[in-house]
């Protein structure tokens, strides 16, 4: 049994794909998402075997979304696009699986055959997975929004998830600290904290060898002894 997730912002597109998949008895569509941000949480929550992922989506494209998922927890991705010359070129280069809209049922059947035969992600990094993030998608109070990188002061984890804190906004993101650290210039200053160096106003050193960062808007971010050295190096303080 293959658990499939469909992520596409266009209702007719999802309908059509669902109808096509319905003819394959061993495929179970476990969820549908209308954008990449919902898609991220659905992937983490539903752990599908395969994701049919549209590329052109609001704010965060399918390619960007793939870059927001840790490769180890990445399901098999089948990109779906109507027309996108650049993306198609990238797919060919990365040997990624993709379908063109309107979807040809025979072509879809071939993809499903490969999946049944146990095809796993090719091991090549997906297109988009090496790019730097431009913003972090967040959810707060049932609203989805994006926070631009340079607005973010720090990011930390707590019991409710990964919290993104900017000067004016705060939200929870589906992205892990590890992914954010890899895809942004932010620096790890504590086991549970990433900080935007550009937002640092001052660093208060403490007796125990740790420190505390004060951001431009006056927020305080802890710095552990382990990470102080690294921050000093980055800021060229000896």
């Amino acid at each position: 049994m293959l658990n499939a997730l469909i992520i596409d912002d266009e209702v007719p597109s999802r309908e059509e794909l669902k109808a096509l998949l319905a003819s394959a008895p061993d495929v179970d569509v476990v969820g549908e998402c209308a954008n990449a941000i919902e898609g991220l949480s659905a992937i983490h929550r539903l752990r599908p075997d395969v994701v049919f992922l549209d590329i052109q989506m609001p704010r965060v494209s399918g390619l960007e979304m793939v870059g927001m998922i840790e490769p180890s927890s990445l399901p098999h991705i089948v990109f779906v696009t109507a027309y996108d010359e650049h993306a198609l070129k990238a797919f060919e280069e990365h040997a990624a699986d993709y379908l063109l809209k309107p979807i040809d049922p025979q072509r879809l059947a071939k993809t499903l055959d490969w999946l049944r035969a146990g095809a796993r992600p090719s091991g090549n990094p997906f297109p988009g997975t090496d790019s730097v993030l431009r913003h972090i998608p967040c959810i707060a109070l049932n609203r989805i929004f994006l926070i631009a990188l340079d607005e973010i002061e720090y990011i930390h984890t707590d019991v409710s998830g990964v919290q993104v804190v900017s000067t004016s906004k705060q939200g929870v993101t589906e992205l892990t600290l590890k992914i954010i650290q890899e895809r942004t210039p932010f620096i790890r200053c504590h086991r549970q904290y990433l900080v935007n160096l550009n937002q640092i106003a001052e660093i208060e050193l403490q007796d125990n060898g740790a420190a505390e960062i004060v951001t431009h808007s006056g927020k305080r971010v802890p710095v552990s002894r382990r990470h102080l050295r690294e921050i000093k190096d980055k800021l060229l303080i000896s």
Binding site: E10, V11, P12, A19, R59, A82, K101, P102, I103
Partner: protein
Amino acid sequence: MLELEQINHLALTGSLMQQMSVYLVIAYLLSKTPLFAPLMQVTVRLPDKLVCYFVFSGFCIMGTYFGFQIEGAIANTRAIGAVLGGILGGPVVGFAVGLTGGLHRYSLGGFTDLACAVSTTAEGVIGGCLHFYLMRRHRADRLLNPMTALFATLFAEAMQMLIILLIAKPFDDASRLVAHIALPMILTNSLGAALFMRLILDRRETMEKYSIAFSAKALRIAERSVGVLMQGFNEHNCTRMASIIQEETGVGAVAITDCEKLLGFVGVGADHHLTGTPISSTHTFYAIANNEVVYADGADISYTCSVSKDCKLSSCLVIPLRGEGNRVFGTIKLYEPKRKFFSTLNRTLGEGIARLLSNQVLAGTIEEQKQLLAQSEIKLLQAQINPHFLFNALNTLAAVIRRDPEEARQIVQYLSTFFRKSLKRVSNDASLNDEIEHVNAYLHIELARFAGRLDIKMAVPEDLLPLQLPAFTLQPIVENAIKYGISQMIEPGTVTISAQRKDAVLTIVVEDSAGLYQPQPDNDGLGMNLVDRRIKIRYGAAYGIEVTCEPECWTRVAIRLPVEKELVPC
């Protein structure tokens, strides 16, 4: 007063010849003045005829004054003025000149006064009749001929003698007088008239040579410079142009500037007049600011080089280059070094060259705009068939066919309307109604595609629908609003299309509720920029597209167009 017996024919001829020489010297000097210009051709215009009358009346009177008093009569060269006045000015002028000269003679008295008055008038009329006769026979060339003048005067003077014999009393005195003066006067006057005519012809030839030289230079410059500046008003082309002008005119140096900097300099002083450097001459600034020719001759208006003290240039002619609407866009400057003066030829030529350059640049701009327009239209044509839109539409259709064949049929209808309208020629005009129908077809397909995420509000007053605008103006803007606006929204969004007319300006506003507009300067791929550029090339910078954006709230695109013509609604 001389007694007739005291003089012989030879002596009188000699004296009259002397007198005529003085007379001709004066004529020669006068020929250097502009007063003479109208006399150098057979005159037709009234002002020229007046000049002709005054000049030759003057000569007539002068001829009388220069004459010798001989026993109450005057041996003179008055006939020259009268006959030539008639030949050049026609019967009326001839009569007037003769009458004026005659009346003047009459006022001096003597026993031949009346005879002279009548005969002088007759001489004028004879010249005039000859003029009339030759003009009638289209032999104007024969008029300006010394031999014509000679024989006409010969005939006129012979007639004068007859008139004296007929009118002057007593007849004995008259016949004695005529016997003495007839030959010298006939000879002198005929010869004088011929020489006077020769003088006029010489003057005319000089003028012609001058204008031939002028035309030749101007033509050569024009020929050599064809199209140079049409390829762009830049340093490379301006330097080429300057060197052509310098070679042809032979002036010390030639410079071409735009309104800020030197674009080309060739000739004396090229070592320190460097292209690309800002303008520093006050004369140039003045010429640009006032749209006036500035001539710094180095004497009345001093010229000193504003770049280097050691500059050898000492006089300068600055002529503004004028583009559209007589607006100054640069200057051309001619320089002469110390101890060399500007020839009038080059000064006049300079202004002609400035016009030539201006026209070239203007033609170049028009050519460039034409090309830009053509390019924009080709790109718009390509943008009309947006593959992204097409495949998404087909994909939507595939889904809708499954769910609702009737709705699918409608979508097919919209799709065909959309493509039919898209395939219209971009360079044509369309009515606002056509544009709205095009957009409507497009939006209905997008409505199906975005099912529930897109809302459309249309607020275009009926009476504006017949207004004309370039075809394919509205659709790219609406497509942008969907592509970069609504389709990037996570929540549902609205596109509002409205239009209003204020006097002769039609403004169409397309607003989306996304507010995600990012300015992308010079992005040809954007249909919006193409539409804007096409409108600006067609109607000027006052029209086109203006984008305002409240981030995360709305993006408003206003299309401003002139109301050109209206279709009468039927």
